[in-house]
């Protein structure tokens, strides 16, 4: 099992400078938050899906589709039941649906989905090293930038470890994917001790590995010459800057 989201392709988006990608991620999150109608957020969703297609990252979209739909669905249901307005449309015990709840729930659900998809697109086209490099040349302090990239590395280590442990327990007939909810919860118990133990061991080794390779939060990393803003990067930055400004202006005009 691969725990990596980065798909190494040679698309236009992959070739962009990491500074552009990080700026793009912020802009997309900002757009998702600023979007005030279903049509605006729907348009953004369509654009994101096109970008997945364009960057040949559809495999990740497929991999995460179920999880994202679950999150979007849950968000929709929660807002549908807890949104309050003047007029009650439907009442069942303590549950009630008010007028405007459905459109608001759809809006929030789309907003959340767009933010998740923006993050996934970013991880699909950006390697951890480029993410880290981008942060360093954007003057993010080294300890913070390294902590962010290290957390991604550790998640990968833990995920692949967890996968092996689940597999090892499944062979013993302890299958977490079968049986009632209670049985599944019980089946998770034997996973905890090996997960913690091997997780600690891996984290310890990683610490030693970093130390043995001279890592220190006080280090000055010189990435001069690694990244260069080319014409397509500058164009993208200009477009994003204009789009960002347009959103801010439109938001304040109202």
């Amino acid at each position: 099992m691969s725990a990596f989201f980065f798909i190494n392709k040679n698309s236009f988006l992959h070739r962009l400078d990491p500074r552009v990608k990080i700026t793009g991620l912020f802009l997309f999150c900002m757009l998702a938050i600023a979007g005030e109608s279903i049509s605006q957020l729907g348009l953004m969703l369509a654009m994101l899906l096109l970008l997945f297609q364009f960057s040949k990252s559809g495999a990740n979209l497929k991999k995460m589709a179920g999880f994202f739909m679950l999150i979007a669905g849950m968000t929709f249901v929660m807002w549908l039941l807890f949104y309050r307005s003047q007029e009650k449309l439907w009442v069942w015990g303590i549950l009630a649906v008010y007028s405007g709840a459905a459109s608001h729930a759809a809006l929030m659900s789309l907003r959340f989905l767009n933010m998740l998809l923006s993050g996934l697109l970013f991880l699909s086209i950006t390697s951890i090293e480029d993410f880290f490099g981008g942060m360093i040349i954007m003057r993010v302090p080294y300890p913070f930038a390294f902590a962010v990239s290290l957390s991604f590395r550790l998640v990968m280590v833990f995920m692949s470890n967890a996968f092996t442990i689940v597999e090892a327990q499944k062979v013993r007939g302890n299958d977490i994917s079968k049986g009632s909810i209670l049985k599944r919860i019980q089946a998770y118990m034997p996973l905890i001790a090996p997960l913690i133990l091997t997780g600690i061991k891996k984290a310890e080794t990683l610490t030693l590995a970093l130390e043995s390779k001279g890592f220190s939060p006080q280090n000055k990393i010189d990435l001069t010459g690694k990244y260069r803003l080319r014409a397509p990067d500058k164009c993208c930055l200009c477009v994003m800057l204009l789009a960002g400004m347009a959103v801010v202006i439109l938001k304040f005009q109202r």
């Binding site: 099992m1 691969s2 990596f4 980065f6 190494n8 390697s127 951890i128 090293e129 590395r153 280590v157 470890n161 092996t164 442990i165 597999e167 090892a168 327990q169 499944k170 062979v171 013993r172 007939g173 302890n174 299958d175 118990m189 034997p190 996973l191 905890i192 001790a193 090996p194 133990l197 091997t198 061991k201 891996k202 080794t205 990683l206 610490t207 030693l208 590995a209 970093l210 130390e211 043995s212 390779k213 001279g214 890592f215 220190s216 280090n219 000055k220 990393i221 010189d222 990435l223 001069t224 010459g225 690694k226």
Partner: protein, 546 residues
């Protein structure tokens, strides 16, 4: 360069000494093998020499350690990490980047080199060590051997004056094991080299051999120790190669060894005939695989055109280079992976319709992935309790299994507190409780010293004699030569040999394709009279004292 005088180390004031009065001098460019069994203090000594103790792992140090005539404690950490580099046993965990290129600039950049200079140096280093083909690749797609090379190259990027390798041969195939040492030597690495290992198999690559046991230096000298059974036994090590079977004192000259055997021993033709004519009784078919193909979606690694029949009572050793598909095939047989194209039948029933969970036991390379209970007894009883068996029955059954595995006196012990060999046995016992007809063990001897390896493999052999069908995946030629009746060899996702073990080791082309090699005993026996003897037992049976 390294001057250690009467050095002792313990983690806490009330804990036992891990290293006790170690004195050691290692000169510039010297190649030293430090060997000892599990728990001898090898890894602690490697961490001390490399400065990770006490910099990262604090503890109580007594004695003196100077590097280049200066106490190590006086070196700033960023200066010392450039001097001594260390490759861990778990080299995969040491790789901190996702691509080879980035991995090879991480170390120099953290020692202050600008990116462009670091990448230029990394490119040159790859050219020197003939590793250009992996330079642009991602870590995820590398084989085990390539990952080890990457981890090693990553250390060499900082041009260390001393390189420490902690058990570098455990996870790689025999061809890659030699490759690592050849790789360093032919790549022109002439600085100091210290290798910590549990065996003396590659002693010929080194200038000096040190034995360590219970945190003390037991021997420090030349190659003569290879034939010193008493001393090696004290250190919990096995005599290397031909010296297991021949007591002639150490010599590099194979001609002298051959002369010694011819003068002092006589070949027993009758015994040899008996060995090679041991009939292979065809048993009932347990597993039948037809036209199986499988492909991992992410890595693209494939198995192609697999046809295989496993008979009940077989003891099969699976060999093949890293990444040849050994583990994938075994996971398919165990039902852990779902078969792609083709069919796997277990006792005549397709796995697609009848899952085999519980009938095929799979013991992972790392027992810590399986163990979770508080006592050895509970760990073994887990599967029986899940099946709802009565307590009295569980007691009897678990006791019988633990007795069989040599763990009965440890049944109330915390499994995590046991040495790795015993933890591996606990993992086997827990699987055995499910009464599988077929047991698959994935590299069970990895990281085990000789006494633990022998004890585990004897337990496995007993299971086979009691009727269990056994399959082990291994990189150890000694294990393959000593246990099992059949070899299953894979290369690039295809089975290229399945059959009699002796025939496999007789055929040079098969050995080369499977990245396998003959043991020294096999080579000597062939040189003596052209008749292949697989292991020490066969050698002693056939070459009797005059």
């Amino acid at each position: 360069m390294i001057a250690i005088d009467n050095l002792s180390f313990r983690y806490q004031a009330n804990s036992p000494k891990i290293l006790d009065g170690v004195s050691l001098n290692i000169g510039k460019g010297e190649r030293v093998l430090i060997a000892g069994k599990n728990g001898a203090g090898k890894t602690t000594l490697s961490k001390l020499i490399s400065g990770l103790i006490p910099r990262v792992e604090p503890g109580i140090i007594e004695g003196r350690y100077d590097y280049r005539n200066r106490p190590v404690s006086e070196y700033p950490p960023e200066e010392f990490v450039r001097e001594i580099a260390v490759l861990f046993q778990d080299f995969e965990a040491q790789i901190v980047s996702t691509s080879v290129r980035e991995e090879l600039v991480f170390y120099p950049m953290n020692t202050g080199l600008p990116y462009l200079k670091a990448i230029e140096n990394a490119g040159k280093l790859c050219a020197v060590f003939k590793a250009e083909s992996i330079f642009e690749r991602e870590i995820d797609g590398l084989s085990g051997g390539e990952k080890q090379k990457t981890a090693l190259l990553s250390l060499l990027t900082a041009s260390p004056k001393m390189l420490i390798l902690d058990e570098p041969f455990t996870d790689v195939d025999p061809a890659s094991q030699v490759l690592i040492l050849d790789f360093l030597w032919h790549g022109g690495f002439r600085e100091g080299l210290i290798v910590f290992d549990q065996s003396l198999d590659y002693h010929a690559f080194f200038d000096r051999i040190i034995l360590i046991g219970n945190g003390k230096i037991l021997f420090d000298g030349d190659h003569k120790v290879i034939a010193n059974r008493v001393l090696l036994s004290q250190a919990g090590l096995e005599t290397s190669g031909i010296f297991k079977a021949v007591d002639c004192g150490y010599t590099k000259d194979s001609g002298a060894i051959l002369r010694h055997i011819r003068e002092n021993n006589v070949f027993d033709e009758a015994a040899y005939e008996e060995i090679i004519s041991t009939p292979q009784v065809p048993g009932e078919t347990l597993v039948e695989i037809t036209s199986l193909s499988f492909k991992y979606r992410e890595s693209g690694m494939t198995l192609k055109h697999i046809d295989l029949q496993i008979q009940k009572g077989d003891f099969i050793t699976v060999l093949g280079a890293n990444g040849s598909g050994k583990t994938t095939l075994m996971k398919l047989i165990a039902g852990i992976l779902d078969a792609g194209q083709g069919d796997i039948r277990y006792q005549g029933k397709s796995l697609k319709a009848f899952p085999v969970a519980g009938k095929v036991g799979y013991v992972y390379q790392n027992p810590d992935n399986q163990i979770f209970a508080e006592t050895v007894f509970d760990e073994t009883a887990f599967i029986l309790r899940m099946r709802g068996m009565a307590d009295a029955q569980i007691q009897d059954k678990v006791d019988a299994i633990l007795t069989n595995m040599g763990l009965f006196d440890r049944k109330q012990s915390d499994p995590f507190s046991l040495p790795k060999g015993d933890r591996q046995k606990v993992a086997c016992a827990a699987i055995l409780a499910g009464e599988p007809d077929l047991m698959i063990l994935d590299e069970p001897t990895t990281g085990l010293d000789y006494p633990s390896l022998k004890s585990l493999m004897e337990s496995v052999a007993t299971l086979n004699r009691n009727g269990k069908t056994i399959i082990i995946i291994t990189h150890s030629m000694e294990t393959a030569a000593s246990y099992g009746n059949k070899i299953l060899a894979l290369s690039q996702g295809e089975i290229f040999y399945y059959g009699d073990k002796r025939k496999f080791f007789e055929d040079e082309r098969l050995l080369s394709k499977g990245k396998a090699r003959r043991t020294e005993i096999m080579e000597i026996s062939l040189k003596l009279n052209g008749k292949l003897l697989l292991n020490e037992t066969e050698f002693l049976m056939c070459w009797k004292n005059r």
